[in-house]
Point group: C2
Chain length 393, copies 2
């Protein structure tokens, strides 16, 4: 290991992660796993850097240290951030970058051949932002004797139960998002320009709280107002807030790439009765859902209790109402494993973490009051403490 | 068109873009183009939102208005931001989202069948962050009678020459990045915590300059110091700046998703002679390169003049030294078409824009002094005016 690599976890923890991954590989008879998801790469090796816009991966085998492979100029970043020995950090030449003549995965195939891995079962993350159709085509063409096996989310599923150190980072992220919401409430008022508000949100989130410095979130802040809040994923512009405006803030604190998402909604002035009704429905339903947030229950139990209670209040909702969270890179702060929805029968276990996301998008605006929680030995704990209501100012 | 869609360009401009795209489709005998790249989607339809973490696309045909297709809850965002008629905005149910039982592209195939497009030549962006291997597999399986054609970057290449309105947005982004660098120089000093500095960079970039409000950049700020700056893509942590530190800032201003990237390097105190030598080499080589930045020259002419001059100064560099810029979404602010490197024989034309990125990563740090330029009728114009030197404070 390079002596000055900056590791966020002990070598023991990285070893345990590797063992869990190898066990999951064995269960699927995978000899070699090509991990391209930046979150999975970081979780396995420590690697951190905004280099995922070019092809890169960590190669996991059963009998040797993982290999970091990526763009040549990024090898220096791997040496700075991974526990992996420099001999196992392999860069490809720059003429492979965004070329229409050659694909970086052609180079990876050569490396795999050199390692004697061209006739084995190779796991690939078929459904991933960072494994394009062309990347797969390259491996198929270059490694005709290998068996390419779908290993989508194989590593993600190993990340479901968090270690104490991971929870500590998520609690730091929780302190950060508490500060962000406090700052929003402090400054929001009619006349404020949305981009200035967004600037303050970023400032608070990145400066963080004391030792809990802020990392960039995997999703940018969303703060739509009024009709724009009928849509869930709009960001901001330079429109001016006015009395009567209702704005939701879907934001996350992030520390060392670990996230604590939390949404709140603020009404400038007394909200219409319709929104008070929606607030009561969401909070009642959320509490009904959270009564099921304990070891032994299933992910869908939380969702079903939520949906049933919401329906009693006259609101029908059919989308996903939460997901597992933790370490992440853009474009998604979810872990892309467990979802809180009907049909997801993942058993809840201590130290799982999820964002319970009971948003309501109405015909003239939106209401988001959400919680990020960790499952304890007998129930759940809210990660961040922000007043759980439709905020009025 | 929904009367209140917020369009950043005239209908005429969107029509011209559509025509250019259809012409390029015709040249490749493509009947129907499935555009998943969020930048291409926005350029063609106006669509904007942080929803690209789920599958979505714009479908372009020769004889009908484009179709926006995406997650059901995001249809409201499409109505808010696209010129497309509500009848042509199609959402898929939420149980397709991040499911291991069904793929959203299965739903798209059904839509394409309904539109009579299951036996034609369908162009797909094989090499794209938002077209996974699994997405391609789904289309192959569901549309066995269609001919799937690689249309990687087909739309991106249409974006190379900018319109006056696009240039206006990029000039707004240039004002923003000028403000960001001014703010950095203003506050940087020994004792400053890097995350606090990053917070100020974000604040300046998002608040923007007057009417030029800031959008989020497609790459987060990178501000590595000392040994960390031997790597090109590290972001920040809470380390404390000290006298003698040399830090580079690779950042962009962004306005309505149009970018102006610009890097500068700051030394806290007099830099070592080695860095002064590197500065002289980079600036000489950059000027040599920019002498070739005019209509009629080729992309590689800029790069070759740069490399040759750099080599005379004793520095050998083999990576890409620039790329086309404009409209972009994470994870890359480049357009992924023209590159400034040997072998790229793209002819430079008026109103092309690129980030000339002559960085040097040394054995104990990095030096980045870059320029974003627009090709004029006879030469080039720097988009942003920031002192072109190794800054010392």
């Amino acid at each position: 290991m390079p002596e000055d690599a900056k590791l966020n976890f002990t070598h023991d923890e990285y070893s345990q992660r590797l063992q869990k991954t190898r066990d999951a590989m064995s269960a699927k008879q995978i000899d070699c796993l090509v991990v391209v998801d930046p979150s999975n790469m970081a979780w396995l090796s420590g690697y951190d850097g905004w280099s995922f816009y070019t092809h890169q991966c960590v190669v996991v085998r059963h009998d040797a240290e993982p290999v970091w492979w990526g763009r040549g100029i990024d090898a220096a970043g791997a040496i700075r951030t991974c526990y992996i020995d420099a001999d196992n950090i392999i860069g490809y030449p720059d003429h492979f970058v965004q070329s229409d003549e050659r694909h970086p995965m052609d180079h990876l195939s050569k490396i795999l051949r050199d390692l004697g891995l061209d006739r084995v079962a190779i796991g690939v993350e078929m459904e991933n932002y960072y494994f394009s159709a062309a990347a797969f085509r390259s491996l198929q063409t270059q490694l005709p004797s290998a068996k390419l096996v779908d290993a989508t989310a194989l590593v993600n599923w190993q990340r479901l139960v968090k270690s104490e150190q991971e929870l500590a980072y998520m609690r730091s992220a929780a302190r950060i998002v508490e500060g962000m919401h406090a700052r929003i409430y402090d400054i929001i008022e009619p006349g404020l320009v949305k981009s200035d508000l967004a600037a303050e949100i970023f400032h608070s989130g990145i400066a963080g709280q004391g030792e809990d410095w802020g990392d960039y979130p995997a999703i940018m802040p969303m703060l739509p107002t009024g009709m724009d809040a009928t849509a869930p994923h709009l960001t901001w512009d330079n429109s001016v807030l006015a009395a009567g405006d209702i704005t939701f803030f879907e934001i996350a604190g992030c520390h060392k790439r670990y996230h604590c998402p939390l949404s709140r909604t603020i009404s400038l002035g007394p909200p219409p009765q319709k929104y008070l009704d929606a607030e009561k429905a969401v909070l009642d339903a959320m509490h009904a859902g959270l009564e099921n947030a304990r070891p032994g229950k299933l992910a869908e139990d939380v969702a079903i209790a939520f949906f049933d209670t919401l329906e009693k209040h006259g609101f029908k909702k059919d989308n996903r109402t939460g997901y597992s969270i933790g370490l992440s890179y853009p474009p998604d702060w979810g872990e892309r494993t467990m979802s809180l929805r009907r049909g997801d029968r993942t058993e809840l276990k201590q130290n799982m973490t999820f964002h319970f996301m009971p948003a309501l998008w109405l015909d003239d605006g939106g209401l988001e009051i959400t919680e990020s929680v960790v499952i304890t030995d007998s129930g759940y704990e809210r990660l961040a403490e922000v007043e759980q209501k439709l905020l009025v100012k």
